[in-house]
Amino acid sequence: MEAGVPAEIRAEPGAADIASRLTVVPRRNYGIWIGTALALVLAAVIFRAFASNPAFAWDTAAGYLFHPSIMRGLGTTLILTVVIMLLAIVIGTVIAIMRVSPSPVLRGFSAVYVWFFRGVPALIQLIFWFNLSLLVREISLTLPFIGTVFSARTNDFMTPFVSAIVALSLCEAGYMAEIIRAGIKSVPSGQAEAASALGMPYRMTLKRITLPQAMRFVLPPTGNEAINLLKMTSLVTFIAVDDLFYSAQSIYARTFETIPLLIVVAFWYLAVVSIMSVGQHFLERHFGRSDVRTEAMPLRALRNAFSLRGTR
């Protein structure tokens, strides 16, 4: 239609009549049908293999599911995850705040921290801390005029459990620092400026305005980190901390029921990850409440749980 001519639909008489008799034939998408068929066949084959192969020994696996030593191992894994995650969040927050500080020395320190602890593989850090006594025999605090206040042999307190916590906390803190720093940067600068103009000091602004808003951006990746960490704690098996994996290993080393016990381990990791995903969903909803106008569907919680992903 030419410019300037008022746009107006002119229907010929009887056109509406014809239009009412027309029907729409949906386009056939054969690719989707073929794909669906293939996926179903594949699922059936896998299911059959799992069900019919006696080597899986499902009965044996079921028998070990609530075995006392597996339960103890699961407990250790959970304690490690919670303690390490909490320490990593605290240390990571401190490192992240240093990273955005006006002092170049603090910024440099935190940059090197992140570079080192993210760069060295977790397993190597773990074994390093476990062997700390080779480097430092004794740790003591000596004050002038007072003398030695505190002294301990490294081997006495660097138990496998403590080494695991120290090593993985420091390592995980490197990742958390980057996540929290990105969260702080994601808060518009106008927010801190408005707080300053209202007379709020820097630390109050950080605590009351910037960090709570950063939380919304920080939570989804932190959920992912927690899930990764849960799985990463299986590394402590190498320094003989009796976590879930180590407990399973020590059983199948005796009985040679390797596959059933690995299934038990996989089951518990999946179960905990699923529960964590649900918890993450509710945490995200809590911190995102200034965003949502209507209540999110409860269905989303379920979908989140079963998709086994940290992010939305």
């Binding site: 518009p188 106008g190 927010q191 400026e193 408005a194 707080a195 300053s196 103009a197 209202l198 007379g199 709020m200 000091p201 820097y202 109050m204 009351r208 305005i209 709570p212 808003q213 919304r216 409440r289 200034s290 965003d291 106008r293």
Partner: protein, 268 residues
């Protein structure tokens, strides 16, 4: 306290009733000189409107008043006091953070982008600074906030989040939030520039009410009509200097400088 004010007044010959007093205010970033010597007097209870093209330094000057930007030279006093410094002899000592904050709390500021705290409801926005900075009891702060919200006509939005409000409503909440600190002076940095044209009126109406209640205001704006109607003085800035200042009506009707005439002819 008032001793310092008396000393400053005598030393810098600050006029009586001065709220904002600027003499030779300069500000540079590295090589770039943004303010090249600003002289301005804003008496208590008056409204000064600053107009000018973007990049003229008007927003920078406003941010210097509450020390969000440090000035590079000259003298800038609010209520006869330095905001970021203590004068001892001939030396200006930068003040501690808590003292700076206490002085800033008495200078309200409004922003082009409102900057309401996005994670807080309207009520939480209003009571945040009074309860945290001034340690006002929560109940008292809430009662005062309700009075202010009624005044800006948004009492029904107390439990809403900023995202749920229109731009005009957000700016009115921001004005109420600034007023909750009972400031001596309000600084407006292009308060209506980010608003849809039909929402500008409601914000200007609130500002008009404030001016009529005797609030001292420094307003950087593009609303010439508002400046003419409400302003006690009009300041035209360009290139980091004040090109012309005077009574709004005469200045708009009969600008003396060709630069002012050119600018006004384009915005009117």
């Amino acid at each position: 306290m008032s001793n310092i004010k008396t000393e400053n007044r005598a030393r810098f010959s600050v006029p009586d009733n001065s709220m904002v007093f600027a003499r030779g205010v300069r500000k540079s970033y590295a090589q770039l000189e943004v303010l090249k010597g600003i002289d301005l007097d804003v008496p208590v209870g008056s409204v000064a409107c600053i107009i000018g093209p973007s990049g003229s330094g008007k927003s920078t000057f406003l941010r210097c008043i509450n020390h969000l930007e440090k000035i590079s030279g000259g003298i800038l006093l609010v209520d006869s006091q330095f905001v970021g410094y203590d004068l001892r002899g001939d030396k200006l000592h930068e003040v501690r953070d808590d003292l700076l904050c206490a002085r800033r709390a008495e200078i309200g500021m409004l922003f082009q982008s409102f900057n309401l705290f996005a994670h807080m409801t309207v009520m939480e926005n209003l009571i945040e600074a009074p309860t945290q900075v001034r340690r006002v009891p929560v109940d008292q702060a809430k009662a005062e906030a309700e009075v202010l919200l009624r005044r800006v006509g948004l009492l029904d939005k107390v439990n809403r989040y900023p995202r749920e409000l229109s731009g005009g409503q957000q700016q009115r909440v921001a004005i109420a939030r600034a007023m909750a600190m009972k400031p001596k002076v309000l600084l407006f940095d292009e308060p209506t520039s980010a608003l849809d044209p039909e929402l500008v009126g409601e914000v200007l109406q609130v500002m008009r009410d404030l001016a009529e209640s005797g609030m001292t205001m420094v307003v950087v704006t593009h609303e010439i009509g508002f400046a003419r109607e409400i302003g006690d003085q009009l300041v035209f800035m360009d290139g980091g200097v004040i090109v012309e200042q005077g009574a709004p009506r005469e200045m708009i009707a009969n600008p003396q400088s060709p630069r002012t005439r050119e600018f006004l002819s384009r915005v009117l």
